[in-house]
Symmetry: C2
Subunit: 306 residues, 2 copies
């Protein structure tokens, strides 16, 4: 396959571009950073391109990339996931950018499109989230914008006879993760010999190591699966267990209850992964191993070897 | 109020601009036609502006209109409703245009936004469509794109503290309607002394005369109602009754069953109008009177008086 990955320099984009390369595919990456600043696998053919600018020049650039580089598969990850992205009005811009990119892709005859969705598209008063049965009534603008993008692109793909899949990502963690997220913030507190300040920690979530998320996207893209499916490990673990494992690995202490949780924080968000397993995917990385790799990644290196 | 109405030269746009004028408001109309071709009430301050072009020049034009004309209320009607609009990929462009317009509106401090939705946003296997209880699982790309626009703008409005209402229009009819739609096509067949070829005609729909739709939009815009509500008459009538009334008014015959219905054609789509009634709105035009007015509008006029 000749794959274009948007958001290529983001947390999951780096893992996903690498996973496509490792699976033997030809990979074009698109990101906002200039080429000399974009940290990405050497085998990726990288282009700087701001998808948020939807003027005619930018749309022409989209088409030039798809046509000129003979892309057959689009993996669309790009989205704002900076702090406070749940309620940012920038979600509107990413919805527009996704539609604009999609139109360029189908105009260029792209054969298959795989989009990155989120478990935030589901109704979170349910504790088992399944594409087959769980209502799609997201509470956040982030979830609504992602769900809207999926809804209109899935329908448009049926009309334009384009193959379309949508992977709803749950709780990924691993190298390149933003430092304000759960796993890095706990690791960095512990590495600085500070107590890790946590919520009550009883929330259960489906954590998945980033390289497993990436391999799942490769499996989905290579398959002819159409529609929405969950990208998750199938294992639901409490935040407390994750934090305690990190304390075991790094040392130090955690203070549960030091941080208040949002009043609507759901106690459990488990994922139905039957569709992903049916495609032959198996997660490779245990929680223990994934957290160990995350700790190793954040540990200050030996400067002489960098 | 100083109201900007998009889609001002469309079927409902003409009625809605007129109704706002009649209610004493100052009305700016925007449409795609050049000014000398735009058929619209003389009191409307009309601007030609293509909302589908979302480049930076066009976005600047949006802001100039909102800022320069001191708009406080946006009534957004513009959408592709030409034949085959249910499955047109142009629905994606109108979703993008709606978001782009919205961003310009809130950037200019517009106080209140009222959008035109559709009964096609609802699950049509239900026969009583209510914002309070009916699932929003539209089957068409048209319904999905409209529902997506409402979903993200309603959420963004809560975040940006903008007043937002969304009127789901059912089955409007009346002067300026497109000739391929039910009421005009039956009238025109009968006026040409041809039999009106119809489906079985047992489907029940909420038909609402266009000037009542228009007054409903004025009532909603003037109120502080927020969220989605139905714009409908509250009366569900069979297609057969509408056609038979037209036959009584014009003469001629109807052939029921001459046209096959779509296999998923719902037998009944009644509207919950409790929210609209609670705002003090009452429909003025009976079906008999509305159909008579429609017939009169389509009848070839005395050329000397035009």
């Amino acid at each position: 396959m000749r794959v274009l990955v948007t958001g290529a320099t983001g947390f999951l984009g780096r893992h996903i571009t690498t996973a496509f390369l490792e699976a033997g595919h030809s990979v074009v990456g698109v990101g906002q950073q200039p080429k000399h600043k974009a940290s990405i696998s050497a085998g990726v053919d990288y282009y700087q391109h701001n998808l948020l600018v939807s003027d005619s020049t930018s749309q022409k650039a989209n088409v030039e990339i798809f046509d000129g580089l003979k892309i057959d598969t689009l993996v669309h990850l790009a989205w704002n996931v900076r702090p406070r992205y749940w309620t940012s009005l920038e979600n509107l811009d990413w919805l527009v950018a996704g539609i604009t990119l999609y139109k360029s892709a189908i105009a260029s005859g792209v054969r298959r499109i795989v989009g990155a969705g989120t478990c935030a598209e589901y109704e979170w008063s349910c504790d088992f989230l399944s594409p087959a049965v769980t209502p799609l009534t997201p509470s956040s603008l982030y979830g609504k914008a992602k769900n809207s993008l999926r809804e209109v692109l899935e329908s448009a793909s049926q009309i334009s006879e384009t193959s379309f899949a949508w992977g709803r990502i749950f709780f990924p963690y691993g190298p390149f993760e933003s430092p304000e997220r759960l796993v890095p913030s706990v690791i960095n507190s512990l590495l600085c010999n500070k107590p890790a300040l946590c919520s009550h920690g009883r929330q259960e979530r489906d954590f998945m190591f980033a390289s497993d998320v990436a391999r799942a996207f490769v499996v989905v893209a290579e398959s002819d699966f159409q529609g929405a499916l969950n990208i998750a490990s199938g294992q639901c673990t409490s935040v407390r267990e994750v934090v305690n494992t990190l304390v075991d690995l790094v040392g130090g202490t955690a203070e549960f209850g030091a941080v208040t949780t949002h009043r609507n924080e759901p106690p459990r968000l488990a994922a139905d992964v039957s569709q992903l397993l049916a495609l032959g995917f198996k997660p490779k990385t245990t929680l223990q191993k994934g957290l160990q790799d995350s700790v190793d990644w954040w540990k200050p290196g030996d400067l002489s070897s960098t």
